[in-house]
């Protein structure tokens, strides 16, 4: 095969249904690893806004927490409840703690929900969830 063969071999059937990435017959790990090592998967918040493919955001949202999984179970955006299919990636940000006006302390989750990739962040200082990036 070649590059990204796990992704290419991924069986997206049944046709017409929303793609459930994690229903692959041989487990999800090879696909996830390939996705993570693939240069075209970028953080939504890194993408320039206004090009139609992704944008930064800073919108307070309500998040339902899944304690068992240790990640968001769903979030509410523009009046719609988005069920989180899976958490693709997590990262943490702690910056400029010595300067209260500019400090950032966040735990971020990249999630797949309703076919899109969303970046959710819990701001520890404000104790609030934010939607910080979107790829449609």
């Amino acid at each position: 095969m070649g590059r990204n063969d796990h992704i290419k071999r991924f069986d997206a059937r049944p046709p017409g249904q929303p793609v459930d990435l994690f229903d692959a017959p041989k487990g999800v790990l090879p696909v996830v690893l390939e996705l993570l090592s693939t240069p075209w998967v970028r953080r939504a918040s890194d993408l320039p806004s206004g090009d139609g493919s992704g944008k930064r955001a800073e919108v307070a949202v309500e998040v339902e927490w899944n304690g068992e999984r240790g990640g968001p179970a769903a979030f509410h955006y523009k009046g719609v409840r988005h069920r989180v299919d899976t958490v693709v990636m997590q990262w943490a940000v702690e910056r400029r703690w010595w300067d209260r006006s500019r400090s950032v302390s966040r735990r971020c989750f990249r999630v797949l929900a309703r076919g899109g990739v969303w970046d959710l962040a819990f701001d520890r200082e404000r104790e609030q969830w934010f939607l910080v990036g979107i790829v449609d």
């Binding site: 993570l36 090592s37 953080r43 990636m89 990262w91 943490a92 940000v93 910056r95 010595w98």
Partner: protein
């Protein structure tokens, strides 16, 4: 398999970088139910012995190790052809001190005593290397690593390792080359590719890429967290230390993206490496293979000169009897009884060689007319008196020998000798000549932060200019940084101290947290270690700021290892007496003031006479 062992941990002995205190580290390891933990400070084993002892006491298996800087594996010529912006950046030094160096990191763990000795040799050889060679000072050459890797396990390093840095720079071919070359330095099965997930967006890709490469090369992987502090809340201490260590204010050159380099629980680590359970299992396997026994509790004396047909005890005995006959005229039953008693104890404890070595040094000083005197509890011994090491008669003054050596308390004897401070260097030269420079080094001291040092560190990190740093740390007494608020509130000299002005809450918080943090390695005033085997097989050595070779261990560590430490101290009173005697001899003649000159004992009113001129 469940559980996890942290194999890459920096304590505050990673000077101006690590922010985990050893006691706290072991408490947290115990609380998390981990069976073992490693200590891998930058470029040395500074905290290794106290960590080893404390871990055994706490019921945690200690794994000794070190994060070293190793020679670049990549092809230099090929890299030079690249434009500068495309070359792989060589990491700057981590931490502060003469042992720090620029270069790629490699984690080394000690499996056994052979590994410990090899690690000490590797570090010593790197730190004592002449400047200007192909491999810079304090960087371990690959050829040395290959030669001295027995008993060591190598991990490919953090993101500042050559493999990690190459992978982050999207140079997988170079990462592969580095890992292959490093792996060849170790015995099969003793080299692991180190996976570190620092919770950045790049981390999953980094881990997956390294794990994929390891699989291709048939090398095992191991998970670490490059621990620099114990809990997430402690991360700012690491930020403060690393920025000041790099002589900048916050955020410093490292500018860590988050607070994830803390001592995570087994479940947190296994959660991070859910796709690579083997990497977590490997931590337990490695800890199981690292079973170092330093053999604490036994003593290791330097080689005394013993003529053929004699033993150290027989020689000591002869010298002591000869000495006691000269000192006591006539010889008293009490002196005889006491000498027999002391010699028996010295023999039982196995210390004859130690006494012979001290006598050897004192005899040299006397032969050269260098004034010297033993002091402290050594004066309680008739053996030291008979050997001429001390001059106080323990029988006449009813001095208790057990204060000096107690068979119930098996401790290394400590004989301190003061020498004429003007001529102390001659004695030191003799020690190096007599025992060989490979067997002698100076004892280190570890300088820790008090209130003043902590305030200065915190103020520098927060960006105060040097003049302001001086103002903020002025008039602070020599007290623990933990007491800074109490000091400011109660000490008269701090009545109008600038730290009491509003706006310094954060600075004071950081100051308190820095209390007792190790800052750098210093040199003991007069402590020397003398060993029978080359000293670099016992401890790593490095250059001290004053241009002498110093051990990385302090006096307590050396005592714990059972090695001989001698305090060769300079006493200016001896110099003053020497000068006075010389003046007197010049004025009234040599016959009137015979050498060696001693003050006759017990003459009432002597001091008054002296005062009167």
């Amino acid at each position: 398999m469940s559980g996890f062992v942290h194999l890459h941990v920096h304590s505050d002995f990673s000077f101006m970088d690590g922010a985990a205190y050893i006691d706290g580290l072991l408490k947290r390891v115990r609380r998390l139910g981990m069976p073992a933990v490693a200590l891998t400070d930058h470029q040395g084993l500074y905290g290794a012995i106290r960590f080893y002892r404390a871990a055994l006491k706490a019921g945690v298996q200690p794994v000794l190790g070190c994060e070293v800087v190793v020679e670049t594996c990549g092809v230099i010529g090929e890299e030079c052809d690249q434009p500068p912006q495309e070359r792989l950046q060589i990491p700057p030094p981590s931490g502060l001190g003469r042992a720090s160096a620029s270069g790629f990191h490699l984690t080394l763990l000690v499996k056994d005593m052979a590994g410990y000795r090899n690690l000490c040799r590797l570090l010593s050889r790197a730190h004592l290397r002449e400047e200007g060679g192909v491999v810079p000072r304090s960087v371990i050459a690959l050829s040395d690593l290959a030669r001295r890797s027995e008993g060591l396990i190598g991990l490919s390093g953090c993101q500042r390792g050559e493999a990690g840095a190459s992978m982050l720079a999207e140079l997988p071919w170079r990462a592969k080359e580095a890992v292959q070359r490093l792996a060849r330095c170790f015995a099969p099965g003793d080299f692991y590719v180190e996976l570190m997930h620092d919770m950045t967006p790049e981390a999953p890709r980094y881990v997956a890429a390294l794990a994929g490469m390891a699989q291709t090369l048939g090398l095992p992987v191991v998970a670490t967290n490059d621990v620099h502090y114990l809990t997430r809340a402690d991360f700012r201490l690491h930020d403060v230390l690393s920025s000041v260590g790099a002589r900048t204010s916050l955020p410093g050159p490292l500018e860590r993206p988050n607070a994830e380099l803390y001592l995570k629980s087994a479940s947190e680590m296994r959660g991070l490496f859910a796709a690579f359970p083997r990497a977590c299992d490997a931590t337990l396997e490695i800890a199981g293979r690292c079973r170092l026994d330093l053999g604490l509790g036994s003593f290791h004396f330097p080689a005394a000169e013993v003529p053929a047909g004699e033993t150290a005890y027989s020689l000591l005995s002869k010298l002591a009897w000869r000495g006691v006959e000269e000192r006591y005229q006539p010889l008293t039953p009490e002196a005889v009884r006491r000498l027999q008693h002391e010699l028996a104890i010295i023999e039982e404890l196995g210390f004859p060689e130690y006494f012979l070595v001290v006598r050897d040094i004192v005899e040299f000083a006397k032969s050269q007319g260098i004034r010297c005197s033993g002091r402290g509890s050594a004066g309680d011994s008739i053996v030291t008196y008979a050997l001429g090491i001390t001059d106080a008669d323990p029988v006449a003054y009813s001095l208790l020998f057990e204060r000096f050596l107690n068979p119930a308390r098996r401790q290394m004897p400590d004989i301190d000798v003061d020498f004429d401070s003007a001529r102390r260097d001659e004695v030191i030269d003799y020690i190096y000549r007599r025992f060989g420079s490979e067997h002698v080094a100076m004892v280190a001291t570890v300088c820790t932060m008090t209130a003043k040092g902590a305030v200065r560190t915190a103020a520098k990190a927060l960006g105060h200019p040097p003049k302001r740093v001086d103002e903020l740390s002025r008039h602070l007494p020599w007290v623990s940084a933990r007491k800074i608020r109490e000091v400011l509130a109660t000490y008269p000299e701090c009545r109008n101290h600038p730290l009491k002005a509003p706006g310094h809450e954060l600075l004071l918080d950081i100051t308190e947290e820095l209390s007792g943090c190790s800052m750098h390695l210093g040199t003991h005033l007069g402590g020397f270690i003398i060993t029978r085997e080359p000293i670099e097989t016992w401890m790593p050595l490095q250059w001290a700021a004053k241009g002498v070779v110093v051990s990385q261990y302090d006096k307590d560590d050396i005592e714990a290892l059972g090695l001989v430490k001698m305090d060769i101290l300079g006493l200016r009173m001896h110099s003053a007496i020497s000068e006075a005697v010389q003046l007197a001899r010049d004025r009234v003649g040599e016959a009137a003031v015979p050498e060696p000159f001693t003050l006759p004992p017990r003459r009432p009113g002597r001091l008054r006479d002296h005062r009167g001129g």
